[in-house]
Symmetry: C2
Subunit: 335 residues, 2 copies
Amino acid sequence: MAATMKDIARLTGLSLATISKYLNGGHVLPANQQAIDQAIHQLGYTVNSVARSLKTRRSMTIGVLIPHLENVFSTSIISELEDKLHQIGYSTIICDYHHDPALEAEKLGFLTDRQIDGLVMMPLSGCREALAKLKERQIPVVLIDRPVEGLDCDAVLVKNRKASFQAVSRLAEAGHERIAVICGPQGVYTADERLYGYKDALTHYRIKIDEDLIQYGHYDTESGYTLTARLLDRQKPPTAVFVTNHEMTYGAVLAVHERDLLMPDQLSLIGFDHQLLNQVLRPKLAVVMQPLKQIGHTVAELLLNRLTGRDHQCPAQVRYLDAVWQNGGSYGPLS
Amino acid sequence: MAATMKDIARLTGLSLATISKYLNGGHVLPANQQAIDQAIHQLGYTVNSVARSLKTRRSMTIGVLIPHLENVFSTSIISELEDKLHQIGYSTIICDYHHDPALEAEKLGFLTDRQIDGLVMMPLSGCREALAKLKERQIPVVLIDRPVEGLDCDAVLVKNRKASFQAVSRLAEAGHERIAVICGPQGVYTADERLYGYKDALTHYRIKIDEDLIQYGHYDTESGYTLTARLLDRQKPPTAVFVTNHEMTYGAVLAVHERDLLMPDQLSLIGFDHQLLNQVLRPKLAVVMQPLKQIGHTVAELLLNRLTGRDHQCPAQVRYLDAVWQNGGSYGPLS
DNA sequence: ATAACAAGGTGAAACGTTTCGCTTTGTGAT
DNA sequence: ATCACAAAGCGAAACGTTTCACCTTGTTAT
C-alpha cells in the first residue's frame, strides 16, 4: 500500500541505488534531486525503517527496562533519556516489570528479541547471565541506580553513602543523638549504601549506634508509615528521623502529621527525593535529592559513546553522581 | 554474528520452510522437533523480529505519544497499557513531546516512519492531518483525554463535565455560595468541559455565576498557586475553591498552607486527581479522580479490537468513563 | 589528442524471515 | 495392488532497503 523506493524509481526513471544514496545524504544532480523530492511528495513516501534496519543490522532502538513506570524516579530519568536519544534518531522501547523478577527476565528476553541496539536497565534480580550474553553480542548495557553483582558493566550510580552521611551529619550537628533511620530492605544495594552512610555519620560524631533505631522497610509508603509510627509511639522516641527513599518519605510525613507533631520543634525529619511533595508542605521538608536529569543525561552519554563506537572495547565505565541537598525547615536544633 | 534460521537448517538438515513452520506453531515430526529445539539451544538462536516484521508487514509495535512523561496521569495509564499490549506480543515506543506542538508533530512523524501498527496519543495541537493519513493507511489511532476536532477517531474520555458538576454540587449542598473555580486554559477541551460542569452546578443550585470567581490558569502548579493566592487575599474571599487539575491542586494547597487556613473551617477545597499527595495531607483532600487504570485498560481494548480486525471498518468508538469521587475532610458546611 | 581522474549513476546481491505451490511419504480403504 | 488423501517437508520468491563493484560521462592537465 504505502509507497516504496521502487515507486520513486519508476516515477523518476532513476535506479534504487541513486535514490537510496540521495535519501542518505549523498550527492545527486540538482535535476534528479528535484525529481526525487517531487516524487516523494507526490507519493507521500516515507522510509520503511524496518527494511532499513534489517539491511543495516541496526534497529536504532534502545530498550529501557524499569521496575515501575509510575514513579518519578524512573520517569524523570527516562524523559531526559528519551529526548537525548530521539535527537540522534533512536527510539526507546520501554518495559515496566512491576517489581517482579519473573517479569523482569521475561521482558528482558522480549527486548533482546526485538534486536535492540542498546539497553538501559534498573535491575532488580539483575538477570546477570542474560546481560552477559548481550554484552557478548556487543550490545551496550547501561545500568541505573544499582550495579549487578559479578557483571562488569557501564553504570550510573548516585553517591548514596556520601549523601546519607551528609544528611545524618546535619542532624548530628544540630545536636541530635537519638537519630533513627528508615532504610530499605537489607541486601538491596542502595539501601545498604544509605545505611552505611548513616552509620558513618554516627561514628564520625561519636554517637553510639543503636540497632533499635534502625528500621528496615520495603521502600514503599506503607512501611515508611508503619515504621515511623512505631518509632514515634515509643516511650522514648527518637528526636530525629532520616528516611531513605521517596515512597517511605510519604509514609513518614503522614505519620508525623497524624500525630500533630511540629517540625522541627518536636521532631526533625529529613527525607529523600521530594520535589513535588515539597511544593506544598509547610515547613518545607529537607531532603536528599538524586540528580535525576543528570542521571538521564549521563546514561545517554555512556550509551552514545558505545553506540558510536568511540568506546568500542574499553572497560566498563561507572559514573558516580553527587546527590543534591535541598534545605528545608523540617529539621533543626534540639529544643 | 547471531544465529539465524539458516544455521538451524544447516545443523538439522531441514529446510527453512519447515523450521519457520515449527517456530510459528506448526506441526513437524517429533524427531525433527527435537532436532530443532536442540539446535536452537545449542546456537542460542532467537528470532529476528525485524526480519519477521519486514515480511509480515506488522511491526508488532504501538506508538505512544504524550505531553510529558513526568506526570502520573500519563504514566499510570501507560503502565497499564504497556502491560496489556505486552501480553499479546506488542511493544510500545513512547515519545514525550514536552508540551511542545512542534515536537508533537515531529515525533508523530518519527513514529509513523517506524511502521507502528497502532498509535495512542494524548493530543495537544492534534496534528489532524497526520492522524487522518494514518487512519487512511488503516493504522488504528486511539486518543486519550481529549478529542481532535474534525477527526473521527476512537477515543477514551472522562466525563469531565459531570464530575465537575458533582464536585461543585457538594460544595453548594454544604451551603457555599461564593464558590471559586481554578480552571485550565480557555479553549482546551478538558478545561472547557470542567468549567461547564461548574456552571451547570451553580445554575442548578440557583447561585449567580460570578465571573470574578472564575480563574483561568495553565494547568501548572505555578498558576494554581498564584490564582488561589489572589482569591484568598481578596477583601471578600470565596468560601470554597474547586481546582480542576492535578498540578494546580498542588499550587492551591500550598497557597492555603501558607496562609495557615484551616480546612474545612476557614475554607473548603476540592481538588483533582490526587492519590499520592493525599497519602500525607491532613485533612485528606476531597478530590475528583480520573480512573487512570481503567483508561489504560479501555485504550488497550479499543486498540486490540482494531488490531485483531474485529472492528475492522466500523465507525469510531468513543468511550466516556466516569470519574471517581474520593471524599476527604477538606470541605464541609459553612461555619 | 590523450591519460587521469572525479562525479554521478547502475545492477544485483544481500539482510532473515514467511509463505505459496508443489512434491514426497505414509496410511487405510477399496 | 491400486487409489485417494492427509501429513510433512521443500524450493524459491518475496518484503524494502543498503551497498559493493562497476560503468559512463565530462573535466582538467599534460
